[in-house]
Symmetry: C2
Subunit: 189 residues, 2 copies
């Protein structure tokens, strides 16, 4: 049931069957429908989700009620509002399933006990957090340094599977493009 | 000698004198002069620096040779190019001391041995990485959602000590302002 997660953990750390057995009581699963909202502003984000199947996005609403997409997560990615999950403050984000999803998750409230019980899971969590840091750094870099067209090409080359799965207007929001600019850039290719 | 770091670690995890003794062989120190360059593009970032005293910045150079400052680090902050430090790829960044600095650092090559020897240090590293993630998330949010004037106010309120220590043109670079806009906004206050 949790095999996809165990396989992912084993890419990073030594993780015996006994570790998996010790981890299992801390794992939960959730099936969500397409377009279902998993989190909205004002709630505290109490869960950290591992995408077993499907596609999730996170977004903010600006003062003009325009969506700003900050995150996409597909299979084998972890997704949460780190700020709310770690600090316990209410979130400013929406989290929504773009496709029907199967999710595995752990609870913020149980993390300390989990890390104590399965130290290999804490090593894995440290490595996942560091990977996420690298991704964030590349994203800030990408906002700072690339032209719109370079950003589009970088995204398409880095995440080829996304183009087919994500509606065009969502990709435009993530890349900070107007839908008009998005149509123009696609027509060019 | 490493007391500032031990005090910082103890804010996050239980850390006995025996842990400090076990950690010490993995710690190094470096004193750098004002304006000294610690890292430049093409090098691999092999060290993770804890600022004991002083102020460090990281920046990129765009194709017009304009500096884009991405990071400031003052006392009790960790600073590195996470991407290069974690993946071992060459950096695209410059790291430079803005003030004369006393730095404590650990080496990428010794991290695995260090984590094995001092598990409490891995917990601390996990928490620091998660804190850095929260900071990055807030930064992306802040780029996406705030007007220039809101960004300036947010920065001044969040990091009041910086204004006196950082030259105005560097703050303008970090916030993505022209020096002209920066003068105007400061005159307004």
């Amino acid at each position: 049931m949790y095999t996809a997660l165990y396989n992912h953990i084993r890419k990073y750390v030594a993780f015996a069957d006994a570790d998996a057995a010790a981890l299992e009581p801390y794992l939960y699963k959730k099936e969500v429908k397409r377009k279902e909202i998993l989190l909205k502003p004002g709630q505290v984000c109490k869960d950290h989700y591992f995408v077993k199947k499907g596609l999730v996005r996170m977004y903010l609403m600006d003062e003009k009620d325009t969506e700003k997409i900050t995150t996409f997560a597909i299979e084998n990615w972890w997704v949460t509002d780190n700020d709310s999950f770690i600090t316990g403050q209410p979130t400013e984000y929406y989290m929504q399933a773009i496709e029907a999803c199967e999710l595995i998750y752990i609870k913020a409230a149980e993390r300390d006990a989990l890390f104590k019980t399965v130290p290999a899971y804490e090593s894995y969590t440290r490595m996942i957090a560091e990977r996420a840091l690298v991704a964030y750094q590349r994203r800030v870099n990408f906002i700072n340094m690339m032209s719109d067209e370079e950003r589009y090409r970088f995204f398409v080359e880095s995440f080829p599977g996304f183009l087919q799965r994500v509606p065009q207007y969502m990709l435009a929001s993530y890349l900070g493009f107007t839908p008009q600019f998005m149509s123009k850039i696609r027509a060019k290719r």
